[in-house]
């Protein structure tokens, strides 16, 4: 879910996460390794086929 930044997100445990990015992507699937921010862990996964390389940020 995209939200215009900057944002302060109050998590379930009461901690506050802050981001001043112009837009932030909030995790709604709870699979993110950097919750509450999205890390694309929601993506569909497939059995290995000849897959494109993906190494350049």
């Amino acid at each position: 879910m995209l939200v215009e930044g900057p944002v302060e997100v109050v998590c379930d445990d009461g901690s506050v996460a802050v981001s001043d990015r112009f837009v932030v992507a909030l995790c709604t699937c709870r699979r993110s390794h950097c919750y509450p921010w999205c890390d694309t862990s929601h993506r569909r996964r497939a059995r290995p086929t000849p897959a494109p390389e993906e190494d350049a940020p």
């Binding site: 837009v23 390794h33 996964r45 059995r47 993906e54 940020p57």
Partner: protein, 361 residues
């Protein structure tokens, strides 16, 4: 004397006839280039002072060159670099030397023709959808999976050294497309680029974060320092962006390239961040990739929804170009990955010559 940060890089060593011609022309004392009479020959000679004018490569020699080989790629890389930071001892005005531009054009045609012949023809939407699917497990073709699982510190250092050709000018090649876009595509592109360039904070420019990573790994952080060590496969991934960025006619391909980078970056960056943690590379090394996990999860959405969709709404005829940009990027990244994994699985350096152990060459 080694270059200090901020200095211009030195010209690299040539890798064959084409790059020798280009580098010799650039290392000769610069002479004012007469704009009139404009050279009539399709490939005007590269002028050098003295009794033995250097022969420019002929059109036939360029046509016969390996489009992905080190010689052509280095010649192209050096000519493009005149549009970025230039080189020590090379006059800034050589950027617009008609003789050099003519040679560049001929090199570009060979490279582009090879790419168009070698990449699959798939629609842009289908190509992007394909990039959005993650493999369940390491399929043996992914550098980030390899580095996460089995990467050794020397391999991470080699990876950083060759990626520094791009990351020390990260997002620069894409900035050229901005005046060629309109509306949503332009606004989205500028927003993402603003983030890439540190959102107003010099210390957060992604190129600076990468220099910090390199320092953690004991590498030289000067711009262009590792050009001599880069294999042809690494050069090609960077010449591609400059080719797309510098040609307005390839603005669709540039957007396709940018979308590919942003869509594929986040999962790979997470693996690379974990690889840096596992090998104890250092906090700045971890930070560069951690930042890209989070940033590119956002950039990916903005690029697909605003930049790609905005461009194709504005100029629907560019759809094949966007698709070509995606396919060409994947093609060259695959070639680089195959080169790296082959070298590392055989415990060999993936660079032209190995890095010194201490990090100082």
């Amino acid at each position: 004397m080694p270059p200090r940060p901020g200095d211009r890089p030195r010209l690299p060593r040539p890798q064959g006839k084409l790059s020798t011609a280009v580098l010799s022309a650039l290392s000769s004392p610069s002479t004012p280039t007469p704009l009139s009479p404009f050279p009539h020959s399709p490939l005007p000679s590269l002028r050098t002072p003295g009794p033995d004018p250097l022969l420019a490569p002929t059109g036939a020699e360029i046509q016969q060159a390996d489009p992905y080989g080190a010689d052509l790629q280095l010649a192209l890389y050096v000519l493009y670099e005149l549009h970025y930071q230039g080189f020590d001892g090379v006059d800034d005005d050589r950027e617009w030397d008609p003789a050099l531009l003519a040679v560049r054009r001929a090199l570009e045609e060979v490279f582009l023709r090879a790419l168009r012949a070698d990449v699959p023809s798939v629609g842009a939407a289908e190509a992007l959808d394909g990039l959005l699917v993650e493999p369940v497990a390491d399929d043996g073709t992914s550098v980030s999976h390899h580095l996460l699982r089995a990467g050794r510190l020397w391999q991470l250092r080699e990876y950083a050294a060759l990626r520094s050709l791009y990351h020390l000018k990260e997002a620069d090649p894409h900035a050229w497309v901005i005046p060629r876009l309109r509306g949503r595509a332009k606004a989205g592109m500028v927003a993402v680029e603003f983030d890439e360039f540190g959102a107003g904070r010099a210390e957060d420019i992604h190129a600076q974060l990468f220099a910090d990573l390199m320092a953690d790994l004991g590498l030289e952080t000067a711009y262009g320092h590792y050009l001599d060590l880069a294999p042809a496969e690494a050069l090609a991934t960077v010449t591609l962006m400059s080719l797309f960025g510098l040609h307005r006619s390839l603005r669709g391909a540039l957007v396709g390239h940018f979308a590919t980078v942003e869509v594929t970056s986040s999962p790979a960056a997470r693996r690379l961040a974990d690889a840096m943690r596992r090998t104890g590379a250092g906090p700045a090394a971890e930070r560069f990739y951690d930042e890209h996990v989070e940033a590119d999860a956002v950039h990916e959405q903005v690029v697909r929804r605003e930049v790609v969709d905005g461009l194709l709404t504005d100029e629907p005829g560019l759809e094949p170009d966007v698709a070509f940009g995606i396919a060409a990027t994947v093609h060259l990244e695959d070639r680089l990955a195959a080169h790296l994994l082959d070298a590392w699985r055989h415990d060999r350096t993936a660079l032209r010559t190995p890095l010194a152990v201490t990090g100082e060459r």
